[in-house]
Symmetry: C2
Subunit: 352 residues, 2 copies
């Protein structure tokens, strides 16, 4: 089977590029002496996470309890779930995972600490809980090093829990600020508790600057395995580092410059990430996807030397790879132009 | 079970509102004497399509061959698939559907006509193919009434096919332009072929103006069954007409004004539709979802009289309902505040 034979739209993943991304990234962290924990929210495929572990990763990161369940069932034995859990049901599910694998959780408030403590009461091995710190991204996280220390003490005192360290999802290009926040928090905690086991930073955009945050003991990143148009735009990767493309067919050429492709927002998503246009069409420099309907890409070829024909198949690097793989039950694994096989996205739709 | 007991994030569908939307809309078309053909791409649930038919709809519209297969298997007997099909495999699937149900397709170019003719060669009952017209939306479609007539003649001459009429997906608020294009095309076709069986217009945004296009013989719309924030903003519905909400939990309150909810772009999608913000939070007028991560909504409550607490469950009307229901394997059916049951989204992910 060749790429031409694949029904469209389809999400293609080039394993040659995936493996190069895995090994180049892992080597970088090995050289820094920094633990690397890939985030599986990008690919949601245990087969790929296993390659990340075999390359030297210390464990995996998940975002949702249902993702962690999929990967725990596949015998991944070190999982950091980077999300505040509150509901008794979700926490019971976390406890079931923790009985068979090394699970760590996070908290940024006392309500979460209380809920986790209630859910883990009476366990033999206390649950490691890291304090999530808002080092500038403006999402979750305690707002100051002192608040991080206070919450660390609360975790250390809570039944069923132990203080596991600090965790942040930082804004890109703010390494000095991240290092300052986390190292201050660590020093306060060392005085209070004597230990701050893990300090976990992350994000593919800052991945090449991880060395500027010497306080980190580990680093989490997800998108680096596939890369995407937003990371090309940031200078974090090259077009040739993009492993995931959406294969689409030109279904209409209504005007000289316009082509309609059969990949819309239900294939590419509407993520813009500050970019103009909805993806990069390979082999047609200057082509722009100016709008998306649910099942149509509206592409403008006015700046291109040539125009595609009806029935032609085009590959698109999406703006953001992670939500694209979450839309499909399977991706198609390739090596270069050779099609290997469709492969299930085991944790697709694991939103709980 | 009450809404408070539902694990989040979850997509809730209030059947009381759904039924009101179905009946009010159908009554409007009945009064106009215009056939109504609901588009199932919004809900992808045969149970709801059956209610639409029982209320008086003449058939259903689908966007993809895999959607049509799901609904044909549920015995829907009049399906218009509003999408150019090119691949022999998809056309073979269409032929299999056409053997058991009344299927119509569309074309806006000769390549599609040739592919359909090849695939339907030798059938007893020729396939009805409508000419898709670009009446101003700038998506698919022939560019002039004369081009519509020329393609109609090609369809009428093609083996295995018969000319089924005209179809357009119009830009909102351009009813005069749509009427002018379609009536000119119809008149040209009547001279050439003697008949122009169906003239199909559509779109929820223009739904209340369908009467301004007297040439139409049927109207397609999908989103009206759920409605969403984009349709509130257009004045096409009220907040109380919105049947679909995303239930989410406040998982963090990092600052006085900021709340983080557990519904991100993998639940709400990033569709903006020209709006600011990523959804309407019920019961907190002035609250804004200022950003989405994949699993977090970043909400700003600075303009609100009160602030939600950690653990509180909030309902969000998404900007665009259709891609939201495509993200989940099941929605939760409600009647008002009473939870009925989870219900499978049978055609979720039917992107082929």
């Amino acid at each position: 089977m060749s790429i031409e034979d694949i029904e469209t739209p389809a999400v293609l993943v080039d394993l040659t590029v995936v493996e190069a991304n895995i090994h180049r990234t892992q080597q970088g962290f090995d050289q820094l002496g920094l633990g690397f924990r890939p985030h599986i929210k990008t690919h949601k495929i245990p087969y790929l996470a296993r390659q990340q572990i075999q390359a030297g990763a210390i464990g995996i990161a998940c975002q949702k309890i249902s993702e962690a369940e999929v990967f725990a069932a596949e015998d991944f034995d070190d999982i950091l779930l980077c999300y505040n859990l509150l509901s008794p049901d979700k926490i019971a599910r976390a406890r079931a995972i923790a009985e068979k694998t090394q699970l760590s959780l996070v908290a940024d408030n006392l309500e979460v600490v209380a809920a986790l403590s209630e859910g883990f009461r009476g366990v033999d091995e206390p649950l490691a809980v890291l304090v999530e710190c808002d080092t500038g991204a403006g999402r979750c996280g305690v707002q100051s090093p002192q608040a991080a220390c206070d919450l660390a003490v609360s975790i250390a005192l809570a039944k069923g829990l132990r203080f596991g360290g600090l965790m942040t999802y930082p804004r890109a290009d703010t390494e000095d600020q991240v290092e300052s926040f986390l190292s201050q928090a660590r020093d306060l905690i060392l005085k209070e508790l004597g230990a701050c086991p893990t300090i976990s930073g992350g994000g593919t955009p800052s991945l090449n600057h991880a060395g500027r945050m010497p306080c980190l003991t580990e680093y989490r990143a997800g998108t680096y395995i596939y890369n995407d148009r937003s990371l090309i735009a940031r200078g974090a990767c090259l077009e040739s580092d993009c492993a995931l493309t959406v294969l689409s067919t030109v279904v209409s050429r209504p005007t000289h410059d316009r082509a309609i492709l059969d990949a819309g927002s239900k294939s590419l998503t509407s993520d813009l990430f500050g970019l103009t246009g909805h993806g990069l069409i390979l082999n047609y420099p200057g082509a722009e996807i100016v709008a998306l309907s649910e099942e149509h890409a509206h592409a403008d070829f006015r700046h291109c030397a040539t125009r595609p024909t009806i029935g032609e198949k085009l590959r698109i690097i999406p703006n953001h790879a992670c939500p694209v793989s979450n839309l499909v039950d399977q991706v198609v694994f390739l090596r270069g132009e050779d099609v290997w096989r469709p492969f299930p996205v085991a944790a697709r739709g694991c939103v709980i």
